[in-house]
Symmetry: C2
Subunit: 221 residues, 2 copies
């Protein structure tokens, strides 16, 4: 019943971590517009967050703004990437080359992104050997070897629900400890593995809550 949560200081709160990529994109936009310096107020406009929130977050990363001026975009972006670990190679394995897997691979392909898909696996024999983005689809039998060889620690599970648990276990056994799971099942894995779930059906269900506003009965627009 009790979930012990040992928070080693030095670690950012999860909510802040989720915001860092948002800053990264805003910075990239601003840089593309030719800016060199940005204030927390400008970032607020571009992200929809408050300027105080942004200053708090950025101060947590070490605080490298200049009072009275703002943040140097290039420097700030580099710092955020460093904190997130995006300044190194972050190899990702994608399991499942169906429509969702393909969409993810395309999403990732080409962009100057760092978590980069370096291996794709699928159970369907007829897909194996085909290309998907920058990768050739491999069989599940090759998963353990490839994942270990490429030092992959992060993986995306885009397989049907029935296969997800098995795939997750194979990934964990091969050394992956951060999983992004799109299958609509709760994965049971040993402690060090962190699972982040994205469940599109649940997402829609939750959103339904907000589709009932103050619409009086005779809703004639």
């Amino acid at each position: 019943m009790k979930r012990p949560r040992r928070q080693v200081l030095e670690r950012l709160p999860d909510v802040a971590v989720k915001r860092l990529p948002v800053y990264l994109r805003a910075l990239s936009d601003l840089e593309a517009q030719g800016n060199d310096i940005v204030s927390s107020a400008q970032l607020a406009q571009h992200t929809g967050l408050t300027s105080e929130q942004i200053r708090k977050d950025l101060a947590m990363l070490g605080g490298f703004g200049t009072r009275g001026v703002g943040y140097r975009i290039g420097h700030l972006a580099a710092s955020i990437r460093e904190v997130l670990g995006l300044d190194r190679e972050v190899p990702v394995a994608l399991v499942g080359a169906g429509h969702l897997g393909t969409a993810l691979a395309r999403y990732n392909h080409g962009r100057r992104q760092q978590p980069r898909i370096v291996a794709v696996f699928d159970t369907a024999p007829h897909k194996q050997g085909e290309r998907l983005g920058d990768n050739v689809i491999q069989s599940m039998a090759e998963l353990a070897h490839t994942v270990r060889l490429l030092h992959v620690r992060m993986a995306i599970i885009a397989v049907p629900a029935a296969q997800a648990q098995g795939v997750a276990e194979q990934l964990a056994a091969a050394g992956c400890d951060v999983l992004l799971n799109f299958a609509p099942v709760r994965l049971e894995l040993p402690a060090p593995v962190r699972v982040h779930n994205v469940d599109l059906a649940m997402e829609l269900e939750a959103l339904a809550y907000y589709v009932r506003a103050e619409e009086p009965a005779g809703g004639a627009p």
Copy 2:
């Protein structure tokens, strides 16, 4: 005069709303296993949340557990669906029939789900007229008319970034006020429209943060 008036709060906190679909799925699993009654402790096991958390949430919905016993699965699930608005038709429009859109449509197809995709749109003329799940792909020109006709208030944006803002505006103009946006851009829309973003690239970037720490095996630097 005292009446056992079980009143649902006017507005549930967003965090709680996000958990309701989780309960719904756990309940559905438990029901499939032949259970009739469930305790908050059992739900905790199935969801990974704490039992206190669960009791708080369920009490917020009106509290219909039986002390010393637990919750009646069927009744509880029905209540959650009602709170989320899933006891009525919740028609959804899907814009973009690429890989992501197709994955979403498949995800939704067949399951006894309530936010149901009732219309699909795409710009590509060669796709128009094709089937996707239960729907025939329509042109963007038909969007406004169809959305209004079917009283669609919720929409999924699964188009390239460059088109997303335009699509969002068309949807909003046609009466959609809850959008689920998969395009990697921040949408600017008038106040009443609620946008929920799912950005897969950002998701990966944030997760990269958790791929550091003590290497499981012989790491490098």
